[in-house]
Structures are given as C-alpha cells and as structure tokens.
Point group: C2
Chain length 123, copies 2
DNA sequence: CGTCTAGGTTGACATCTATCAAAACAACGT
DNA sequence: ACGTTGTTTTGATAGATGTCAACCTAGACG
C-alpha cells in the first residue's frame, strides 16, 4: 500500500512531468494538461482539500487516519475513499505502522502545482 | 455576462475568502475549503486547464473564444460549457466586444490558489 | 427587415463520483 | 485460536459531469 513499488500510481507526476512553466507564461500542451489535471481534480473536493491541509500541516508532516476520520461527519469508508483518491493523484503517500496508517503530503507535487499557478507578474 | 453586477457568481473568492494561510501551515477550516475547492475542481479537467493556460498566457491577457475553440477537437457548445465553468469558479472574466467574446484570467485568484499550495518550507 | 456568423442555452445520454452499509483484511491483545 | 479495533474493499444508489445535436440570442452588415 505504502511504497508503490515500481509504477503503480495512475499518475506519477514526479517522472512524467517536465512540469511547471507558469500557467500564464505559455499555453500548456495537451499531454501536460492531461497529466496535471487529475491532481487539481483531487483537490477539487472540499473534504479532500481539508484532508490535504490536515495532512500537510500535521506535526511531523504526517497524520494518522485515526485522527483524520473523526474530524468529519462522514463514515470511515468515505474518508478512506477520499484518501485513496489523493494517493492515486500522487498528492500523498501512506504508510502502515502497526495498527495505524499514516498519510504524508508529497511536497514536490504541491510545489509543482503552486509553480504552475504562480503569476509570473510579480504583483 | 461580463460584469457580474453585484453578487452573481456562485463563488466570489475575492470577498468571501480571508484566504491563503499556506495549506501546510495550518489546517484549512471547512468553510474555507468549501469556498476554495470549486476553483481547484474547475482546474481539474484537462480541457479547462488547457483553456485556462491559453487564456492566461494570451497576448494582451485575453483570448477570444474564436481562437480557443478550434484548438480542441470538441464542439462549440462543449467549449462554451467549460468556459462557463471557469467563469462560475471565479477563474476568468468574459467580455463581449462586438461579435466576439473575450476571456481574461483573474490573476488575484490564481495567486491565492498558488499561495495556498506554496510550501512554506523553503526547500 | 433579412441574414450571416459567433456564442450560449437546452435536452438527452453515458459515464463518473460521493456516500453509506456490509463485508473483508490487518494487527494487536488476550 | 479468538475477539477487538483500525482501515480498506465491495456493492449499491442518488446525484454530478462531459459531451453532443438542436435550437436560440446577439451583433454586424446590407
């Protein structure tokens, strides 16, 4: 579950993306758009966006599912499903340690997405 | 269509959002996530992401629908629908000038979204 | 007015998505 | 082995989404 040995994730942004000529600098090639869009799509749900921020801002850089789930009025399976979506979008990694599963944000991807949206115009 | 006089758009990010404590700095409140998610959602489609980049990178900062449509192998209505989605997400503005309609990126929002994703950790 | 062209709206349809209950799986404690 | 607790998978369902064809609207130009 944790280490996606080899090429497991649907989208491996790290390798597949030359990435990040700021959006406003030059038109995104269709292939690049196709690779990046799923990441934005994953962030396009309020629950997942909140999950993402909880994970990214968690002390130690990781958050336990057991801490994430009770923060929402949603069933366990639903939270698990959203976490899976984030994982498949390449936004987080998961690791099981004993009974609990911890999620960790992939800073690289976040930085890439931020760079994409960054206005080149300084202000 | 162009000036949303008063409060028209579903999401008015400019006013509704205190916005942009970097995602990884503190957990996003549910209400903020609910406001921001639709913007990411709008970017979560390859066609719209490409449209967005074409508009944002267009000379003069604006692009005519007549230039956008032929760049895709999609029907006019479909492109129009995607542009509407971007508009309702607060990502673009549209203005009719004579026969043609021009779309323009909202730099403010893009900067807000970029700020959200920006890793506070320098590297 | 009539008519052309550029865009948008409506209606329909196939696919995807968010959600839950129920079941399955994983690790720990007895 | 057995039961308990944490997490994921499966199946089902209501609702959202992307797409098109057909139709409608807005200007421009005679």
């Amino acid at each position: 579950m944790t280490k996606q040995s080899g090429a497991l994730t649907l989208i491996d942004l790290d390798t597949a993306t030359p990435c990040c000529p700021p959006l406003a600098q030059q038109p995104l090639p269709a292939e690049t758009a196709a690779v990046l869009a799923p990441a934005f799509k994953a962030l396009g749900d309020p629950v997942r966006l909140q999950l993402m921020s909880m994970i990214a801002s968690a002390p130690g850089g990781e958050a336990c599912v057991c801490d994430l789930t009770p923060a929402f009025e949603l069933s366990g399976p639903t939270i698990s499903h959203h976490l899976k979506t984030l994982r498949e979008a390449g936004l987080v990694d998961s690791e099981r340690r004993g009974t609990w599963v911890y999620y960790r944000a992939r800073a690289t991807i976040l930085r890439q997405l931020a760079g994409l949206l960054a206005a080149d115009a300084p202000s």
